[in-house]
Symmetry: none
Subunit: 202 residues, 4 copies
Amino acid sequence: MALASGQRVRRAAVKLFATRGFHGTGIRDLARAAKLSSASLYHYMGTKEDLLADIMRDCLRDLITAATETLDGVQDPRERVIRLVTLHVRTHATQPEETRIVDNEIHVLSPNAQRSVIALRDEYERLWTQAIADGLAQGVFRTTQPAVTRIALLEMCNGVARWYSPRGQLSLDELGAHFAELALRGLGACPHGCTEGRSGGE
Amino acid sequence: MALASGQRVRRAAVKLFATRGFHGTGIRDLARAAKLSSASLYHYMGTKEDLLADIMRDCLRDLITAATETLDGVQDPRERVIRLVTLHVRTHATQPEETRIVDNEIHVLSPNAQRSVIALRDEYERLWTQAIADGLAQGVFRTTQPAVTRIALLEMCNGVARWYSPRGQLSLDELGAHFAELALRGLGACPHGCTEGRSGGE
Amino acid sequence: MALASGQRVRRAAVKLFATRGFHGTGIRDLARAAKLSSASLYHYMGTKEDLLADIMRDCLRDLITAATETLDGVQDPRERVIRLVTLHVRTHATQPEETRIVDNEIHVLSPNAQRSVIALRDEYERLWTQAIADGLAQGVFRTTQPAVTRIALLEMCNGVARWYSPRGQLSLDELGAHFAELALRGLGACPHGCTEGRSGGE
Amino acid sequence: MALASGQRVRRAAVKLFATRGFHGTGIRDLARAAKLSSASLYHYMGTKEDLLADIMRDCLRDLITAATETLDGVQDPRERVIRLVTLHVRTHATQPEETRIVDNEIHVLSPNAQRSVIALRDEYERLWTQAIADGLAQGVFRTTQPAVTRIALLEMCNGVARWYSPRGQLSLDELGAHFAELALRGLGACPHGCTEGRSGGE
DNA sequence: CATGAATGAGGCTTCATTCAT
DNA sequence: AATGAATGAAGCCTCATTCAT
């Protein structure tokens, strides 16, 4: 069965918003890509901005759900950072369009929509903040600038959506592992259990 | 003395392109911000796209010039990375608008303009590539993914333009130092001179 | 029992055409007010214009019927004018929406529909013309401009639909009586039987 | 010299808004009538609604100015009513388009614009209210419903804009005189100086 | 009886740009 | 150096209507 029209609109929007930007994407471009008349678009969306905000919120909600699941029951802060980075990088590598939209187009939203998106983003980043804080409290991480480091690492990982290609030499697993290592290094955590002899290691 | 009109156009464009994006900035917005009529803008620019490309190229040329100067005569790869990161971060912190334009709006340029900008960007990044390659060759850096690491670090540093505020707690020097340390860690170079006994350290 | 859908469409159209005008009322507005989908509207009407014309014609036909009834057997021109004015005013006061539509939206009809509505309006106004002519012929009215006076009085009475509120101080009977008096005065007929002793009067 | 573009826009708007209504007039219709592209219209107006509101306000301001002038120094309430009616009728006869717009399209304005127009209309109608009140106080008029009568007379006079033709049999002076007489009759003022012997007549 | 899907045409407004002055 | 006037194209969105289900 052919893809439903509503799905086609969403796909087209994701692709175009990601490649040309929100303001660079016209309603006619969307219609053409979705194989609908521009009038018909409006059966499947509110305004163009609503469509954008929906894409962003869905993407962030999925990310939060996946992060919550992957962290479930994991105590060690290093492992939590590893899992967060791995998920984050994997998501940005496999869904570069959605994530680029979230990362680049927040500022075009009107205040209300922006608030709702930022709330989700903050909810997600709190998982990072908490893992880092725990690691510092446990002496597993060493950095004098946890906040700056967190945001630096996030930006680094976000960048994946801008350059990673599945046709490159790096597999998704290798990519995730490498970034996890970069993150741990940045946080001052020796990957080989540098806290042995302290509280018993992991 | 009042700022010359041409300067006002440039300043307005930098601010608006950075905050609203190229497609989100209208010629009327530019005119209003430059305190000119929209017709008068065209005494100081070619097309809107020309204005964008000029901003990008100037920014990149300045960066290349500054990088070349700061690297002049410096042999040690660690020091070169430190200086590159410091300059890069400082530039992104003090000129966040110009750098964000370079980082975000390349895709709106027409092929020709895009080529000229990308050529400059590549020229600049070669300085990073070379420093890292030298460090690896000298055994000063340890990473299995130099290319990925380079781009990851660049993205991390680019991010500074998106969040750094001079009104925050971090001074420009502290910011640069912290990022330099993150970079060295990411490249596997112990900050305290891990190659002591080799070539004498820094 | 719930109001039938067809009735709801008619009521919605009357209300919306009267308050927003024909061109100011969208098919979606009608659908929403009638609690139907816009497609379903078309089970109960022809085009939007047909709906408008039907409302107008029904309103005028009702008015003609009522006027004919109330004039039945009445000979005295003053009494006929009184009854016409009273009915006209009462109709405009109790059905301000329908009458405003008739008075304001004739010009949006296409030529054919317009003709049919104007024919009914003319048929109705002939009752006024005739009463006034008879009054003049009998010396009961005195005016040098019967045609102008007729139309002036009609406009005056039409206005009732624009301002009368049942929540005001004036009852419907008082309203009718006052306008009847205004009409008789305008026609030069003393309300208290000024022609007694002439041709017998009433 | 050809009519300036701005003037042409105004004229076109007056004609079209009056004959087709605001919602029945498209921006393209305006452009065609003004011999401009639809984009060029926007050099001479704000929004379409601004154009409408400007027309209304100008019309009402002119009317207020003229009414104030014509009443200047006139004490007798009958004479004031005569002058108000004459001016009102003459204005509606000679500028039927502007006045019809004022009378018919107020409801399409957004709340703010509507307020400003209604304020002017009220300012004008106060002149009527005052004249009638003075006449009642002086015993020159006799009516139990001054407010209703005022609005009835106004509606009657407004109607002139809907039907009067300069090509008809009635001159402007005759028209004004006839309506003035209708108004005085409606207010219960004998035209021949019914208050002789009271305060010395007019 | 009712509607979701669909659309060509058009709604109002702004776009970037040019040119005569 | 500066701008008012002008515009074709395009911006986002809604219009009234049809039709298969």
